[in-house]
């Protein structure tokens, strides 16, 4: 069946699609296309040398590792927050609901400074933790904490409407047919939430990979240990090495794209499984 030959039921396809393509090109595609263009001034050998420098490789590991860890923590606790906000009513619920959006609104530099002050060895949280030999600020753990902070709203805000839309009657029906509470949770609720949950995870992860503003304050920026990839990009720019900076950016972009693609694939697989 040839879709194109048929007249579409919904009018306005040409106009909306045209604007979509133009908008995406202006906002996303053209800026991203200039990235590889800027690396063209390097030879392959230079490009390879830049992106495989041990310090740069250490930064990919840190950036991706901390981002995955932060997104995972948010996936668990963000889901819990979304559940509580969607399913229970309690005094102050609206305030808690508004609190969730704060990490969106706060300038990241402010978040970084506040978190560093809290978790530094002299800080309110850092001092008691230091007694147990746990240091947070200026370690990879501190970076993860900052990334958890900025990533939280993504998981909560993608899951909350889906939980609100879950039909309680389905759960009631399952219970009346003899399903245990665990059965309802694992066979009804979680499979229905899974695609949205993955989206939240992917958004939180993608946001964390590119985060610079809050992390540079809490990371301590020690070579090989706590340097995130965006910092190395800034370092290259500071030497007017635009090609080197974009080379690292291209690698980050490629890794993130592959991971997001994989998550999207997993999602559509999950959707097919859930769909009746």
């Amino acid at each position: 069946m040839n879709m194109r030959a048929q007249r579409r039921v919904l009018p306005g396809f040409g106009l909306t699609m045209g604007i979509t393509v133009l908008y995406l090109s202006l906002i996303v595609l053209i800026p991203l296309a200039t990235l590889p263009a800027r690396t063209m001034t390097m030879s392959w050998a230079q490009f390879w040398e830049t992106i495989t420098d041990p310090r740069v490789v250490a930064s990919y590991r840190l950036s991706l590792g901390a981002s995955l860890a932060a997104a995972s923590v948010n996936a668990v606790f963000g889901a819990l927050v979304a559940w509580v906000l969607a399913r229970y009513s309690f005094p102050g619920r609206r305030i808690v609901d508004a609190l969730v959006d704060l990490p969106f609104a706060l300038p990241t530099a402010v978040a970084g400074i506040v978190l560093t002050t809290l978790y530094a060895p002299t800080g309110w949280l850092g001092a008691p933790l230091a007694k147990y030999g746990i240091s947070v600020a200026f370690t990879p753990l501190g970076i993860t904490v900052a990334l958890i902070f900025i990533g939280l709203p993504f998981v909560v805000r993608t899951l909350q409407p889906v939980i609100e839309d879950l039909d309680p009657e389905v759960e009631e029906a399952a219970t009346s047919l003899g399903a245990s509470r665990g059965g309802v949770l694992f066979r009804i609720i979680l499979p229905n939430l899974f695609p949205a949950w993955l989206t939240g995870f992917a958004l939180a992860f993608a946001r964390a990979v590119g985060e610079y503003g809050s992390v540079v304050f809490i990371s301590g920026n020690m070579p090989m240990r706590t340097e995130i990839s965006p910092l190395l990009i800034v370092t290259k720019l500071e030497q007017y090495d635009y090609a080197g900076a974009t080379a690292i950016a291209v690698v980050m972009l490629a890794i993130s794209f592959v991971l997001l693609l994989a998550i999207n694939g997993l999602q559509s697989w999950a959707r097919r499984r859930v769909a009746p």
């Binding site: 530099a109 002299t122 800080g123």
Partner: protein, 337 residues
Amino acid sequence: MQFVTIKTVVRASAIGLLWMSLVAPAAGQTLLNASYDPTRELYQDFNAAFIKHWKAKTGQTIAVKQSHAGSGAQARAVIDGLEADVVTLALAYDVDAIAQSGLTSTAWQKRFPQNSSPYTSTIVFLVRKGNPKGIKDWGDLAKPGIQIITPNPKTSGGARWNYLAAWGWALRQFGGDDKARQFVADLYKKVPVLDSGARTSTMTFVRRQIGDVLIAWENEAYLALQESPNQLEIVVPSLSILAEPPVAVVDKVVDRKGTRAIAEAYLQYLYSPEGQEIAAKHHYRPRDQAIAAKFAGSFTKLKLFTVDEVFGSWQNAQKTHFADGAAFDRLYKVVSR
């Protein structure tokens, strides 16, 4: 008084962010001065004085806008098209980058007196009140049990002056690049946090109480001291580097806007007694002998060397010390082992 006020948080949060402040309502010509972070207060005062001076001299009412960010970020902004008539940056290397892009003459440093740097500063130590670790000179920094705070020279222009000051002292003290490298490597082994900028390092030291000594620009050290006089002390080493923050007119911009005369007068005015006095009030060392004598009590005398004397030029220093894979990176391969 408690150190953290809303003001300091807000000010710190502006680090690295470009912000502009309109000093006077735009009427007639407008000048844009692209500068680096810690000169904000200096140029607020100076711009007001220059606007008055220009009005008295020519009858024209002008406006001067200022823009502040890291020195390297400002140079890149100008290269990428920020319409700054003049730049007043932290190091000559950044103005060289602007000149290499063709926006101004590569001989910019010869155009104004004193290497085109109307005021200078130097690198000093900030320690805790009472100097509990007894830090008097560079050599004391290498003693066991001392933690040093300094920003990352790869991201901070100011930190490059710190590094070169330490290297220059060690070179004179021990003789030979190998010994200097060893000394500087010993110093950086004692640095627990390499913040991305000078202001952030000051916060780490003053506010978070990390480290025994902060290596800082003299004017930054005085600012920190003003905010918390009961917690800090400034220690001036026997020998340090003469930090010469450069100024330049951006040819392409002033020729297009027709502001060359004002731009040149603006930078020239920095060398006048009024300009020098404003600089001195903001803890920059004046070049003018008379003004320097007037403020002699505010600045401790010490022996100073220039980048050109010890390292040849900024281009050279950058290449041998701060480029990727150069001395600083190699130092870190040793340190992290």
